[in-house]
Assembly symmetry: C2
Homo-oligomer: 378 residues x 2
């Protein structure tokens, strides 16, 4: 990538991952205002943007910290100065836990993580002991419960109680509450489906809270929610913290959801700029394929020029078909702006964002934003 501060948008080398900073900042402010109005803690998921600079921007607007999925994401963001990071995922591997424990012991960043089994708790404890962590360098531990996704998390209130009690017995672990996130619910298209699914999830959370409280275990916090569901968690009276991440950028998949009337009007703020490098009378070919944007949740939409459909051209190409028969495809060398199908894995394909101020057509590059945790898989 050959982009620099001050460059006009027309000069940005392609394919490039471009943030419309004005649109992103509006999304950022809208979510911050929503959380404040609901008196909810906001802890955006940084698996979306993987950037310390963007995490710090979210925290400057009131977010209590960020979430990540992997220990090496956490370490990359901590390195970039992020002071409060929650790994919303289970880790069993002693090698990974040792890296985390070292960082916990070093201090500077407050870490939390999720567990859904006894082995995870025992190994975390062993790693902290090995790193000579003390009570003052303790780590917050959430018990993850499966609230309907069928992926990770304990399946019964009794299992949650057992793990919470186990955590409470350990001096270097703090029982911080319940992790309750339904990934699949984010992408249910109709608001009615999302309502029904999250009502069921809330009933599961309530039953688990009842079991823990009945056994004398206080539940300090319930944390979860994504960009597709968060208005429900916010209105539930159960969840106290929202983890939505994609609101910052939005993508073609989230835009395909029926909008929640109570949700702020988030805008597309993340684009892949590409250009036409081959052309016939019927179609054009641009230089962005699925090494430039993830297609797990569908192909990108063409934001500009209008009237084009993006068809899969493989790893390095996109084939652009005009909607209207006999309409000429865009000319060789012209820019094509794509809205990725799914922002999180698209971001993971790039080393940096090109941050543009003043819009995609007349703007200039204001800053290059590092994607610190790109490729942090472990």
């Amino acid at each position: 990538m050959q982009s620099w501060v001050g460059q006009g948008v027309d000069q940005i080398d392609t394919p490039a991952l471009v943030i419309d900073l004005d649109a992103m900042e509006r999304n950022l402010a809208r979510m911050a205002a929503f959380a404040r109005a609901c008196q909810m803690r906001l802890r955006p998921h940084a698996k979306t943007h993987k950037s310390a600079e963007l995490a710090l921007l979210q925290m400057a607007q009131g977010a209590v910290g960020v979430c990540v999925q992997k220990i090496d994401e956490a370490l990359a963001l901590a390195q970039g100065g992020v002071g409060n990071i929650y790994i919303t995922n289970e880790v069993i591997d002693p090698v990974k836990l040792a890296r985390l424990a070292k960082a916990v012991h070093r201090g500077g960043t407050r870490f939390a993580m999720a567990v859904d089994n006894e082995l995870g708790i025992e190994r975390l404890l062993d790693a902290l002991t090995e790193a000579r962590a003390t009570e003052t360098s303790a780590i917050d531990v959430f018990v993850e419960m499966d609230i309907g996704h069928g992926r990770c998390g304990v399946e019964s209130p009794e299992q949650a109680l057992l793990l919470a009690q186990l955590i409470q017995q350990k001096p270097t672990l703090r029982f911080a509450g319940l992790q309750a996130y339904h990934g699949a619910a984010q992408h249910l298209r109709s608001t009615a489906e999302r309502d029904a699914t999250m009502a069921n999830s809330a009933a599961r959370v309530q039953a688990t809270v009842n079991t823990l409280q009945g056994a004398g275990v206080n539940v300090p916090l319930i944390t979860g929610a994504g960009t597709g569901s968060f208005v429900r968690e916010a209105g539930s009276g159960l969840w106290g913290e929202l983890q939505a991440g994609s609101y910052l950028f939005m993508d073609a998949d989230y835009a395909a959801n029926e909008s929640d009337p109570d949700a702020p009007p988030f805008e597309h703020a993340l684009f892949v700029k590409s250009q036409v490098m081959s052309r016939s009378n019927a179609h054009a070919v641009c230089d962005a394929g699925h090494k430039s944007h993830a297609i797990d949740s569908g192909l990108p939409k063409v934001a500009h020029p209008p009237g084009l459909r993006y068809a899969n051209g493989g790893d390095e190409h996109g084939v652009l078909h005009p909607h209207e028969a006999n309409a000429p495809p865009p000319p060789l060398g012209s820019a094509v702006w794509l809205i990725p199908g799914h922002c999180d894995p698209t971001v993971n394909l790039h080393d940096a964002y090109v941050g543009v101020r003043g819009g995609l057509f007349q703007g200039r590059v204001e800053r290059i934003i590092a994607i610190d945790a790109r490729g942090a898989l472990t």
Copy 2:
């Protein structure tokens, strides 16, 4: 990634991109022997592996050079000592062509590229002129023809002739022949479909050769072919150079093709090692989702342990279901070896390969192989 030379396979941090070096070297030798036996030039596509070390290994076994798709891939491999690189793709952007022209002028690596329109030729020439390239630092130019894929390439023999003649008029460009590759044909499942499609492609190539020769234009070489079709190009009497790349690793998608009786028996040599980090009575969850492997051509297959189906668990998870009802899922912390659905974009998600000698169960890490052109999109 925390892997090092000498480590046992059981210690490799997960998820990791692992090469079974023994299997890869057998694939390498089999393709080299096939090309020698057919008296074909072999120029493997390095868009698959993106690694200078692997390119040099292919060339040490007789490959004339490698192919790439992007100028920055070419520059990354040239930097790694690869002396002969063909960009099998159109480039229109003067900024990119200037980078290539500088490298052409610098010498050390012989470059070639493809064109399918006059503007590409003019701009390449301008870039070479600007870099003060001389006849001795000339570049080989292939005219790409569309042989049925419907993506890039000229659509008629007359267009091919026009471009060939234009190239021949320019002192710093050498007309090197025709680029004739059918991407979509690689993944037709039955040998009969691939036979019929490539017979049609061969007829188009023959017609174009006839037109060029009829106008007094010699066609030095026809280059193309992939891992799904190459026995046909090799037997055609037209193509002189094979560009197959995936044979080195194979993937689940190529393995789903009906085998060509004349093709060497390529083995799976590329794996994602993951581990179980959550588990219920019915399923296990491993730590490799589609940020670890590309799913554009289908989900990964489970190479080991046997009896498991991989279901999509999102960006960071895979859900493992036993084939047999009531069979216990694999234990927490146990290794799960995946065969990626599509090797090329999977490689592009990782910074390095972990090269294992002695098999996936008892082997040791022999070397870490850099993926030099990871993320080289422009």
